[in-house]
């Protein structure tokens, strides 16, 4: 159906274009047209296609509901006055029969009849919707074609529509964010019916296992998220301690010291780091770095758990090096040569110039990059799951196992879960906190970067 409408639109395009040309007496008169002929074509084609597509869309959205209503209305009375949950079951059965997932001969005759009725209605609905859309396309298209005159401001109108299309695309991204936030917020509020926000934000014990049935032996469930926040911060901090110096120094080397041939080799190699899947980093951390640290700990007399915050943090630090080095490199390269010349002309050495002039000028941009890397580190899950363990210890000791917000969200939602237990809903509350934390970091990063633009000039 959509193909047919698009075909119609393209016919309308050609038609309107020719009509526009013939209106002014052939190609010679084009300058008497307000817009180029293609704009007239586009104008009519859009009028032809868009309303028809809209009709089709609306039909698909609501047609199904109307059909269901009609099917139910035709069924015996006994089926119409069922309680809500049984009605839902019935509807599911019906749907499956219609889709062919359940053979017709295994269900009750009433249902078979209803299913036939449904199929019939579906076919009718598809035909009716198609015909309606087609007629809308033709009628509106012809009306639009009749408005084509030499002084029709077709270009302006088409461009206006393009503007709307652009707005709509940016709207999709924003709406998605709003939608995610709303769903998380909704479930989180639900969670806070069970656990008070104060207990959640300031409690120091995290043990989300709940007794699912009354006779089950289980802990009462404690939802103090402080150990998770602490674990997240600890790992992110270790990651930053690793990645900021390494990333920054490699950026300085690449931007200021490396000759071009070295730079063209090293830069892509560094950026490959960003392309490694986090799962791979995860097992690298769990299987290589973790045991290595434990053995090293034994040799110097320290107790290092084989799943430790340190191994996860170190590997995560390596993972975010390219974020920092790449942004810092761009920022350092963007510092104007005239500033460097000014410092050199005063007798500054290369390192003095970099330390005192180039880095301060690039600093806000670099900070922006670091904050972006930090929000990435806070949101990282896979490495921590594999390398830092699941136990919610409240500790500042990097040699112990800790867990993070994202890991707990993952474990809480994996497997069978019911959506009215605080255990599951806690994931949404954690997600909400995480969302705000990274949002704040991103806002700060953006602010800093924006300030940077005003720096020199």
């Amino acid at each position: 159906m959509i193909v047919v409408i698009l075909l119609l639109a393209s016919i309308a395009f050609q038609w309107a274009k020719h009509r526009a040309i013939s209106l002014v007496g052939g190609t010679r008169g084009i300058r008497n047209l307000h817009s180029l002929p293609a704009y007239y074509g586009m104008y009519v084609a859009l009028w032809c296609a868009l309303p028809a597509l809209a009709v089709l869309g609306v039909w698909h959205l609501f047609g199904d509901r109307v059909v269901i209503g009609m099917v139910l209305a035709q069924m015996p009375l006994a089926f119409q006055n069922l309680p809500a949950d049984q009605a839902g079951l019935l509807l599911n059965d019906l749907r499956n029969v219609v889709a062919g997932a359940i053979p017709m001969d295994t269900v009750r005759p009433e249902i078979v009849a209803a299913a036939h009725h449904w199929q019939q209605l579906n076919a009718q609905s598809a035909v009716a919707g198609g015909l309606l859309a087609l007629s809308v396309a033709i009628i509106v298209g012809v009306l639009a074609l009749r408005t084509v005159r030499s002084d029709l401001r077709a270009r302006n109108r088409v461009e206006k529509m393009a503007e709307w299309a652009l707005l709509a695309s940016s709207g999709i991204a924003v709406l998605t964010t709003v939608g995610i936030l709303a769903s998380v917020l909704y479930e989180a509020i639900h969670f806070f019916h069970f656990v008070s926000p104060i207990d959640f934000l300031f409690g120091t014990t995290w043990s989300p296992q709940m007794a699912m049935r009354d006779d089950q032996v289980g802990s009462s469930g404690a939802f103090g998220a402080v150990p998770l926040f602490a674990g997240t911060l600890l790992i992110a901090l270790i990651a930053l301690v690793v990645s900021v110096p390494v990333g920054l120094f490699s950026a300085i080397f690449l931007a200021e010291y490396a000759v071009r041939s070295v730079r063209t080799v090293i830069k892509p190699l560094l950026e490959i780091l960003a392309g490694i899947p986090t799962v791979v980093y995860g097992f690298f951390a769990a299987l290589t770095v973790g045991p290595l640290l434990r053995d090293f700990g034994v040799s110097v007399g320290l107790t290092v758990a084989s799943e430790s915050a340190l191994s996860a943090g170190l590997v995560m630090g390596v993972m975010i090096i390219p974020f920092i080095s790449s942004i810092a490199d761009d920022m350092i390269t963007a510092v104007p040569q005239s500033l460097r010349d000014g410092a050199y002309a005063l007798g500054a050495t290369r390192s003095e110039t970099i330390r005192n002039v180039v880095l301060p000028a690039a600093l806000p941009g670099i900070v922006g990059g670091v904050l972006l890397a930090a929000s990435r580190a806070i949101g990282e899950t896979m490495i921590v799951v594999m390398a830092a363990g699941l136990s919610a210890n409240l500790t500042a000791n990097p040699f112990q196992a800790v867990t993070t917000v994202t890991v707990q969200i993952a474990t809480l939602l994996v497997g069978d879960s019911e959506f009215d237990s605080p255990k599951t809903l806690a994931a949404f509350a954690l997600g909400l906190v995480l969302f705000f934390a990274t949002l704040v970091l991103n806002v700060i990063a953006l602010k800093v970067v924006r300030k940077y633009r005003e720096q020199y000039d």
């Binding site: 000014g342 002309a345 007798g347 500054a348 005192n356 301060p360 020199y456 000039d457």
Partner: protein
């Protein structure tokens, strides 16, 4: 530089040129040996037989010239004539340009600045530079001026540093305008103020020579007049080399003038003589506006 001009360069080096600007016959030889007095008594800088190559291209051809103490010398000439390149040789700023090769000798108070033993940091402390576009660091006004003395360890304590900053800003004629806002960023000043800040920054390290590469080309006439007055005052303490496209400016601020043409130093002489009675035809053509 276009290919056409490049060929022109080759012609000159053979001593043969047909210049579009004058009405002489094609093929007439034009002497490119420097006319006028290149030496002075007790020069602070003396350059001899300097050649600069950018890769294959020769930008400076066998230039010899002295820079006198307590005087302003102006380098004039059409675009691409090598005057900025030569200026940048005097404090080895060309070192930062890959594939630039300098030969010949440039002596600062008798010692060769391209000698192996010459430390580039010390050289640039003695030969300061002001650029075409004001380039204050994105730091406070105070920090801009204090930067040079800091890296060279010229000030023992904060009080000394304060004094150097104040003195330099006074010499640059900027003190009265900025004394109440030394902590504001230098980039917030107007273009003319920024350029005077850059001059203050250069004189804060107490150099012997100040190189100025078209210091007024980004400034309006009022700011230009201020900078020109400043140059005249600075002459008391420093030797100044200024590259300019503005011939009135050269006439106003300098005592000696050197005319460069396509990498050759054509004529050197007292500014008054160059502008009133040039001895080389190329100089005369340029001064009278026949080309350039």
């Amino acid at each position: 530089m276009t290919i056409e001009k490049h060929q022109h360069v080759v012609n000159i080096s053979r001593g043969l040129v047909f210049n579009e600007g004058d009405q002489s016959l094609p093929g007439e030889a034009i002497e490119t040996k420097t006319v006028g007095q290149v030496t002075v008594d007790s020069p602070v800088i003396s350059a001899r037989h300097v050649n600069v190559h950018y890769g294959e291209k020769q930008a400076i051809k066998d230039v010899s010239i002295d820079v006198a103490k307590n005087a302003v010398i102006a380098f004039i000439g059409p675009s691409g004539c090598g005057k900025s390149t030569f200026l940048r040789c005097l404090n080895r700023m060309n070192d930062t340009i890959a594939n630039a090769k300098v030969s010949g000798s440039i002596r600062l108070d008798g010692s060769d600045i391209y000698d192996r033993s010459q430390d580039i940091v010390q050289l640039r402390a003695r030969v300061g530079m002001v650029f075409q576009k004001p380039n204050p660091f994105p730091k406070s006004i105070y920090e801009n001026v204090a930067y040079g003395p800091k890296i060279h360890g010229l000030a023992g304590n904060r009080a000394d540093l304060d004094e150097i900053v104040q003195l330099s800003l006074r010499k640059a004629g900027l003190w009265e305008e900025v004394k109440d806002r030394l902590d504001n960023p230098g980039t917030g000043l107007s273009g003319g103020q920024q350029q005077r800040l850059c001059i203050a920054r250069a004189i804060a390290v107490d150099p012997e020579v100040i190189l100025m590469d078209e210091p007024c080309s980004a400034l309006d006439p009022i700011a230009t007049a201020k900078v020109e007055d400043l140059i005249d005052e600075l002459r008391e303490n420093y030797a100044i080399v200024i590259v300019t496209h503005n011939m009135q400016q050269a006439a106003r601020v300098s005592q000696r003038t050197a005319y460069f043409h396509l990498g050759d130093l054509i004529e050197v002489g007292p500014t008054e003589q160059i502008f009133t009675n040039p001895r080389h035809r190329l100089t005369e053509d340029y001064i009278t506006g026949r080309f350039g």
